[in-house]
């Protein structure tokens, strides 16, 4: 028996699992706002600096 008869269904199952995961994440609202996260990249530095400043006080 060729291994293809195992590989093919497994690959399809993986694909379906991926689609289900995607659907779940969309329903969770993770894709609702695609613009703001780009701005949040800058926040890390500001947070670190703020933490440093408040530690100093």
């Amino acid at each position: 028996m060729s291994i293809v008869y195992v590989l093919l269904p497994v690959a399809l199952l993986l694909a379906i699992a991926g689609v289900i995961a995607f659907i779940w994440s969309v329903r969770q609202g993770q894709y609702d706002d695609l613009d703001t996260p780009a701005l949040r990249v800058l926040h890390e530095d500001a947070d670190a600096a703020t933490a440093r400043e408040s530690d100093r006080e």
Binding site: S2, V19, V26, T36, L42, A46, S54
Partner: protein
């Protein structure tokens, strides 16, 4: 005026919060921080108090534009009301509450950081998450710890006045629709990827041979996945095509649906029969790529609708109705015309109407951008959305909801956003023409190959139908617009819809608003005629006011009490304009112990100094006080008007003793910008509320024809002008939104310039966040480049279709070739969209 050095030094005092110049009267000697207004001071102190100074560094890093802080000092008592909670607050299973608020003043990345730091600022707030695009913040808080009104007040103090986000149901519906569409794209992508993988195996078989059983297996699985792709995500196109057929309109869905149907049916038949080619790889890829293009289009249309919702959020949803002497709270929908509503201090006016009882000061900044409150008393009109700052008033309702000024503005915005961009309509029209063309070509191919057998002829005809599918066409336009809009945003030009670019690329009429747009908006004292000895007195009186004209006087004439070289006024040119040397007005000057000053809004100042009556203000105001005008000064007044300056008369007792000319200087880049726009073929027009003579003079300086300049225009007249100009073609209106929000919405493209009112920002199609007119010229040039890129791309994609059609006619198309040609055309389109400098580097 030899006070340039001193003036320059003085003007270099910048507000610690927003960076704009601090007016002279508000400079505090010896203080390390200076503020241009109370709002800025409040926000700065709040930020300092919570240790959030990183905000300023972030703002620099984000290269954002700073504007004076918007604080309204409202009390937000109604946020704690149970009725409010019913409408806008959800209680979560863990007992915390959640709500969504629309925030004013969110215009940069640093604002996101600051707002999301709310838990740190207000204990009791668990989470704050800001959606930058929609200016909506979702807050989760513990109600036993802190009340929503406190949270609202804090946001206001930080410079982001909040409003309840209305129409939660519509937004939820739209969110669910968007999510459904994303899921379709995900499924289409999964299908396309897997069919492609299977197709690779089949391609390999084409070249080196493949056993029949595997070929059969792969073909059947391809068909299964292909059918899923066509039936689920692909149904979007079939439904669209059916709708287009039913309504007999042109739509790009028609040729797409034709290709999908033909390829799907043929592929299924071939798989079952076990012979012939299958094209599921191309079909699934088509579905995926076209859905992505459609998604871009939807996003753009979404931005425009968001703006309308913001406008609705700005007006209250409840009102206090007075009924038989008793006051009860009612939802705004229940309020009728003719009702009497009560508006307390610190609340927003819920309706349009006339004041029936009470006197108060109204902050109209939402609608007009003017933050200085305007006094209202019985008989005067107030508008929904404005803020009552001083005392309770009772208003007879004239209009509610959609019929208020704000409501009508929102309707205008909505109407203009619903119309699809002309270029997209162009793609649809092409699509309709595609269908008969594709069918004709398919028939021709069938006829040509019929001699070789019906089976082979069908194969080739189907192949023809598939490769003539306008894939790149459906992808090109939305993609290029999205990229251009993204690039423009990074350069401070916020574009709401693709229509704007399309209109800007052609010629038409461009109407410019004068103050703040063409001119700098900062008034300076340019001319003085008459008695020079009254200058210190004028300075002393004007220092009591914060009106821009008063500030101009004080800037030019020096500070009261400052002993400069005599009555000539100007400050010593040795740069001694050190803050420390400037005493505060008042206590140390014995001769001004009996000074009483009264400001008359919009007219001038009336003062009494030791019994002497002084009037400083507009010619009408001063003359109304009974002052006689000597003829030489009258000539000066005329000369000042002719020079495009605003005349201000100074009268002492009953004689006019001096005439001052104040000017709003032209922006340095205005002349160049208007010149360029004329060269590009635009008919320029100037609309101004100022004196017609002043407008005419400015028009001359800009090189405009006299007929194109209109002065003395009231806001309603601006709207009429826009309508009149529209009959002659496309109209673009550029303004700073003060009183011309409706005109901005009515124009084909409304461009709001830096510093506009919140309502204008919602009404405009484009917002230039950097000051000056240079961005406008750059915008027009870029719009042309975008349209050129689109036409080039459309041409290229059509070229691909023609080449593929030729190959199909010659019978040379096979699945491999089709699968290569289609992504190739899409990639070329993508490459052109990204590669060509649309909002380029100028």
């Amino acid at each position: 005026m030899a006070n340039n050095a001193a003036e320059h030094a003085r003007q270099s005092i910048r507000c610690t919060h927003c960076g704009l110049a601090v007016p002279a009267g508000l400079v505090v000697d010896g203080a390390a921080e200076q503020f241009c207004c109370n709002g800025c001071r409040t926000v700065y102190q709040m930020i300092r108090g919570c240790g959030l100074e990183q905000y300023y560094r972030l703002r620099e890093a984000a290269d954002a534009d700073a504007a004076p802080a918007r604080t309204t000092h409202r009390v937000y008592r109604e946020f704690d009301d149970p009725t409010f909670a019913d409408l806008y607050v959800q209680t979560l299973p863990d007992g915390t509450r959640s709500t969504e608020l629309y925030l004013e003043g969110v215009h940069c990345a640093a604002c996101v950081w600051l707002v999301e730091k709310l838990p740190r600022v207000v204990p009791g707030v668990i989470d704050a998450r800001l959606d930058y695009r929609q200016s909506l913040v979702r807050i989760r808080w513990d109600d036993s710890h802190t009340k929503l009104s406190r949270i609202a007040r804090t946001l206001d103090t930080l410079g982001y006045p909040p409003h309840p986000a209305k129409d939660a149901r519509t937004r939820d519906l739209r969110t669910r629709e968007d999510r459904r569409f994303l899921i379709l794209i995900g499924v289409a992508a999964a299908c396309a990827g897997n069919v492609m993988t299977l197709a690779f195996a089949l391609y390999g078989g084409w070249f080196s041979g493949i056993e029949a059983e595997y070929s059969r297996l792969f073909r059947w699985v391809s068909m299964a996945i292909g059918v899923v792709s066509l039936a689920w995500p692909g149904s979007v196109f079939f439904r669209g095509a059916l709708a287009a057929i039913r309504t007999r309109t042109a739509h790009l869905d028609l040729p797409i649906a034709l290709a999908l149907l033909a390829g799907g049916v043929a592929g299924t038949v071939n798989t079952i029969a076990g012979r012939g080619e299958i094209y599921f790889d191309s079909l699934t890829m088509l579905v995926f790529l076209l859905l992505v293009g459609r998604w871009f289009q939807r996003r753009q249309q979404r931005y425009a609708t968001d703006a309308v919702e913001m406008l609705f959020s700005l007006t209250p949803s409840t009102a206090r109705v007075v009924c038989d002497g008793a006051v009860r709270e009612a939802p705004i929908e229940a309020v009728r015309e003719g009702d009497l509503v009560e508006v307390r201090a610190g609340e927003s006016v819920p309706v349009d109407g006339a004041v029936e009882a009470g006197t108060s000061w109204i902050d109209q900044s939402l609608l007009t951008g003017e933050s200085r409150p305007v006094e209202v008393h019985a008989g005067q009109i107030v508008h929904a959305g404005t803020l009552n700052t001083a005392s309770t008033i009772r208003v007879r309702v004239a209009a509610t909801g959609a019929r208020t000024r704000v409501g009508r503005l929102a309707a205008l915005v909505e109407a203009s956003s619903r119309s699809r961009a002309p270029i997209v309509q162009f793609a649809d029209r092409v699509g309709a023409w595609f269908v008969p063309a594709a069918l004709a070509l398919a028939a021709a191919t069938f006829a040509r190959w019929l001699s070789a057998g019906a089976g082979g002829a069908t194969e080739h005809a189907v192949a023809m139908l598939i490769v003539t599918c306008p894939c790149a066409l459906g992808l090109a336009t939305p993609l290029i617009f999205t990229i251009a809009i993204g690039r423009a945003a990074r350069r401070g030009i916020l574009i709401k819809g693709a229509t704007a670019l399309e209109v800007l690329a052609r010629r038409g009429t461009l109407l410019l608003d004068k103050t703040g747009t063409i001119t700098s908006g900062e008034i300076t004292l340019v001319r003085w005629a008459g008695d020079e000895s009254v200058k210190p007195m004028v300075a002393a009186i004007e220092s009591q006011s914060s009106h821009p004209i008063a500030r101009a006087f004080v800037r030019a004439l020096g500070y009261p009490g400052e002993r400069t070289d005599s009555a000539a006024g100007p400050d010593p040119p040795d740069g001694r304009a050190d803050r420390r040397d400037r005493p505060n007005p008042g206590p140390d000057d014995a001769e001004r112990t009996n000074v009483r000053v009264e400001q008359i809004t919009g007219a001038g100042i009336s003062a009494s100094i030791d019994g002497m009556r002084v009037r400083i203000g507009s010619p009408a105001f001063v003359r109304a006080g009974g002052a006689a005008m000597p003829p030489d000064l009258e000539r000066e007044e005329q000369a000042i008007i002719a020079a495009a300056l605003t005349p201000v008369l100074i009268a002492r007792d009953d004689r006019v003793v001096a005439v001052a000319g104040l000017g709003d200087s032209l922006r340095p880049d205005a002349r160049a910008a208007t010149g360029l726009l004329s060269t590009l073929g635009w008919r320029l027009g100037l609309l101004s509320g100022d004196h017609p003579a002043i407008a005419a003079a400015i028009g001359r300086q800009l090189g405009l024809a006299a007929t194109a300049v209109h002065g003395g225009i009231m806001p309603e007249a601006k709207l009429a002008h826009v309508h009149a100009a529209r009959r002659a073609g496309r109209v673009v209106m550029v303004g700073d939104g003060v009183n011309d929000a409706a005109a901005l919405a009515a124009a084909d493209v409304g461009i709001a310039v830096h510093g506009g009112a919140e309502a204008a920002l919602a009404a405009a199609d484009i917002y230039l966040s950097r000051p000056g007119l240079a961005p406008l010229a750059a915008l027009v040039r870029s719009a042309r480049r975008v349209m050129r890129t689109i036409y080039v791309t459309l041409g290229v994609s059509l070229g691909y279709n023609l080449t593929a059609a030729a190959l199909a006619f010659a019978g040379l198309i096979n699945p491999i070739l089709a699968a290569i040609l289609m992504p190739l055309s899409s990639l070329t389109v993508l490459g052109l969209a990204i590669g060509r400098r649309t909002f380029g580097d100028e």
